[in-house]
């Protein structure tokens, strides 16, 4: 295997239904409805959220897919980069807020 991630595998996402088709069908119906339609949020807003999540979860498939989806919904690089900064700031905040746990533990451990 050359790599754990092959870009052409993105096109094979639908094949997760090869085993357990009913569950895959349920998932794709939900996934399409949640991410691919205008609702209380526009498709563009959803694409920017998905792009941010893609980065936070470090998923190369999703980064490729949602970079395109952002462009196809009219977003621009400035908006896309801001979405990634939101993800980055959240990840930093999530790491840092855990230091409260560290400090709680410190207080218990230190005489």
């Amino acid at each position: 295997m050359g790599s754990y991630y092959e870009s052409e595998d993105l096109g094979k996402f639908g094949e997760i239904g090869r085993h357990g088709k009913a569950l895959a069908d349920d998932f794709f119906r939900y996934y399409g409805h949640a991410t691919g339609t205008d609702g209380a949020l526009s498709k563009r807003e959803k694409a920017l959220i998905a792009l941010a999540v893609s980065h936070a979860q470090k998923c190369p498939y999703c980064i490729d897919a949602y970079t395109t989806q952002c462009l196809e919904s009219g977003a621009n690089p400035e908006q896309m980069m801001e979405a990634v900064h939101v993800a980055a700031a959240m990840m930093a905040g999530i790491t840092l807020v855990h230091s409260v746990q560290m400090q709680n533990r410190l207080e218990k451990l230190v005489l």
Binding site: K43, T68, L71, E72, S73, G74, N76
Partner: protein, 340 residues
Amino acid sequence: MSAVIPLVARSAPPKYDFGAQLRRRGIELPPLSIDTLQVNITRLCNQVCRHCHVDASPSRTEMMSAAGLAKCLEILARHPAISKLDITGGAPELHPGFDGFVERASGLARHVMVRHNLTVQLDGHPVTKQSKEYLPEFFARHKVELISSLPYYQPFFTDSQRGGGVFGKSVEAMRRLNAQGYGVEGSGLALNLVYNPVGPYLPPPQASLEADYKRELKAKFGLVFNSLYTITNMPINRFRLHLDKTGQYEAYMEKLLAAFNPQAAEGVMCRSLVSVGYDGRIYDCDFNQMLEMDAADASGRRLTIYDFDLEKLLKRRIRFDGHCLGCTAGSGSSCGGATA
């Protein structure tokens, strides 16, 4: 500068057979009318856009002859059903007979549209250096409808597609057009903008993007316009070269194929217009023109403006190939924007 290398048109591989898509769905697309005569009067342009299906540039020399221009006007005079003249290029304003063509066409009480790239106002003629700053007043005087490319309301996409500095010049050119009344409500002077994706992806929804353009261009530059047309990039010529060089051709064609929309197919522009080349040959559209897919009568004889026959044209079989998937993907695409 690879983009200015003369290109040999190539058709799409058989797996992207547009006709097969139609047959599978039982769709037939005969001509409905000819309400627009679209005339490509020159391939000369002051710009070298990276997606240009015409491969237009300052080094192109093709020009419609004076006899060709006169023939187009005669056709319009003879056929009142052809209500619109759509003048394109290249930058059509660089043709020495452009002004006279517009003046005489508007004298025929036809709706005249010009595919105006905005920057030619400031750049002038790339060879003779003749100024084109008179154009806004000239267009307004003849009540010409303008259709102008602006791939985004920010510089990044616009300059990436159309060349460095194009966004700034386009803004200035729009200011001059707005000053003549273009795009201003109630003026009767229409300025419509065109969005093309800056890569191998589909255009965003036309209505929401138009709202973004209007809000941003007004807020940042005080500019106004009428409508935004979203147009899909055709996988031919210069854009095809880019797709091939970057290994994205197959993925783009698969995207177009997967997004085939029967409703968009019903509304393809080739059903209601014909495209005329600089040499007078007739085609089903400007894309077929660039691929040299001539329109032909039932006996297979090439059709030209010099033996123009409306009845024969209405009975012709429109020629399709893989690139037509660009007009039927998603919300559809035509010279007037989305079709579905």
